[in-house]
């Protein structure tokens, strides 16, 4: 098992392809009618895993590129100038911008999380017994936790926030008991299945690969599928009349939210998407009814796992001969040794015409050797 920059690049390419496939499948209502949402969720979690495990396995086939990749590599690593002992090249500039971007996004997200948790700390807990009774009725956690409820005018969408001490946020809207019951089931499902953790990890990946639009899609798809997962849990526990009320609740909340009210990534909001297609799909899924038959998934999930394994099968690398510095020289260089010019530098041969190494820079130990244009010239 080995991590290389090439295994990371292959990983990014595969995950981008997977995310596009997931987006296409998720948009198909027929797919969601035939399969449950779990294969897509598993696929997305495997995408996250694929990025964290961007390695070459013993079975991975390394394919050497002789032309294209060495040229790209040479273009990226050709120094513009030298600053102290650091070569300033295109790769250095790109990596610096990448790191600065990632660092600033993660810092901003962390600050938002900290600000928001402090903000919720100020808000007094709702003491209304009736509200707590509905919460208790909807709470199906094995070991019910103390869940704080806060209500405020500035909260636009119900949400749950916090990994260990969950807080349910409610907007200052008049909700009936059935509406509150379904909202609480929805939010508790987020907490029960660790949706905030999944969302936080996906947002972390998005921050690390901020330049890749596919990773933004991945993060959005994860948020959307987690919302559908919570909707499914609600639908399993309410009757048809309550489902209608649930749909009205979504509409009611959608009416209140503005595009500027963004909760921290770790919060799971009732209306996560500011995207009309996704909200419409949630609506349609509730109306049509979520598929609970996992029989078809039995076929799909192994296919997804096989695709995941196949993604490890090949890694492309630029071909290069080991350099003088890489292999070191076991024998003493004599004046009978010689160099032959190549496009990348020089090839070093010993007195028996045996190839020794590729030389990029001719150092002190080799500077006195004869240099030939080609083999014929030497002969």
């Amino acid at each position: 098992m080995q991590f290389t920059i090439f295994s990371l690049i292959v990983s990014i390419i595969w995950v981008s392809i997977f995310v596009k496939v997931i987006c296409l499948l998720r948009k198909q209502m027929i797919f969601l009618k035939y399969f449950t949402i779990y294969p897509l969720l598993i696929f997305l979690i495997l995408c996250i895993l694929r990025l964290f495990l961007s390695v070459e396995w013993p079975f991975t086939l390394i394919i050497n590129s002789y032309k294209v990749l060495p040229q790209i590599q040479s273009f990226l690593y050709t120094p513009f100038f030298k600053m102290d002992s650091i070569n300033i090249n295109l790769a250095f500039i790109i990596i610096t911008i990448w790191i600065i971007g990632t660092f600033s996004i993660i810092t901003k997200n962390t600050r938002c999380y900290y600000r928001f948790s402090r903000l919720l700390n100020i808000l007094p807990e709702v003491t209304d017994k009736h509200l707590h009774d509905i919460l208790a009725k909807s709470n199906d956690l094995k070991s019910p936790k103390k869940i704080k409820i806060v209500v405020h005018d500035s909260i636009e969408s119900p949400a749950i926030f916090g990994f260990f001490r969950p807080v349910i946020l409610l907007p200052n809207i008049k909700f009936c008991d059935d509406e509150l019951f379904s909202i609480f089931i929805h939010e508790i499902t987020h907490y029960k299945y660790g949706h905030s953790i999944i969302k936080s990890i996906s947002e972390f990946i998005r921050a690390c690969f901020w330049w890749n639009p596919f990773f933004k899609d991945m993060s959005m798809e994860i948020a959307h599928i987690l919302e559908m997962h919570s909707d499914k849990a609600v639908c399993n526990r309410i009757n048809a009349a309550q489902q209608k009320i649930y749909l009205e609740t979504i509409t009611k909340v959608s009416n209140k939210i503005s595009s500027t009210a963004i909760y921290p990534n770790a919060a799971c909001s009732f209306i996560e998407e500011r995207n009309d297609d996704k909200l419409k799909q949630r609506f349609q899924m509730i109306i049509l009814g979520y598929n609970n038959n996992k029989m078809h998934d039995v076929v799909l999930i192994p296919i997804i796992i096989v695709m995941f394994i196949i993604s490890y099968s090949v890694v492309f690398q630029p071909y290069s001969l080991p350099s003088h510095e890489d292999i070191g020289l076991s024998a003493e260089v004599t004046s009978a040794w010689y160099l032959i010019k190549t496009t990348e530098g020089h090839n070093l041969y010993d007195s028996n015409n045996q190839f020794i190494a590729q030389i990029v820079h001719i150092d002190e130990s080799l500077k006195d050797l004869k240099i030939y244009e080609n083999m014929e010239d030497m002969k």
Binding site: N121, I122, D153, S154, I155, L247, S259
Partner: protein
């Protein structure tokens, strides 16, 4: 509590002091604020600088001067409620975080987030009406 207050942010110590004032309807002296802070890990004498800072920020005001023990001392009350302070913080939070960290890149890529308000509500209403008709 209706006058316009400029935005300010409280430190954790100031927040603890404000929570004491928000929890009561009474005016309190600096020392009684310090006494009422639960699990206080800092010396009570620090309350004077905290109160000064809160006064400067406009979070509290002197409501009266009363005899405390043998001397006279100032009694304080908050200039805004915890809900008003939270609203101020939410407002600030939404302003700072409203445009997510990727908005610059998104705008470069031409991605525009639609405002769901008008279009979506109409679509959702239509779906709901259809569902009700089918029933």
């Amino acid at each position: 509590m209706s006058k316009k207050i400029d935005y300010f942010c409280l430190s954790s110590k100031e927040e603890a002091a404000m929570k004491v004032l928000w929890a009561t309807n009474e005016e309190l002296s600096a020392s009684s604020i310090a006494d009422k802070i639960p699990n206080r890990s800092w010396p009570a004498s620090s309350i004077q600088s905290i109160v000064r800072s809160l006064e400067k920020k406009g979070a509290i005001e002197v409501s009266s001067i009363s005899k405390i023990g043998k001397s006279y001392g100032r009694l304080f009350r908050p200039t805004l409620s915890s809900n008003e302070y939270a609203a101020m913080q939410f407002d600030r939070y939404y302003k700072v975080s409203g445009h997510d960290s990727y908005s610059f890149l998104s705008s470069l890529l031409g991605n525009k987030t639609k405002n769901i308000k008008d279009e979506v509500i109409g679509t959702l209403r239509a779906l709901l009406d259809e569902y009700e008709k089918e029933d």
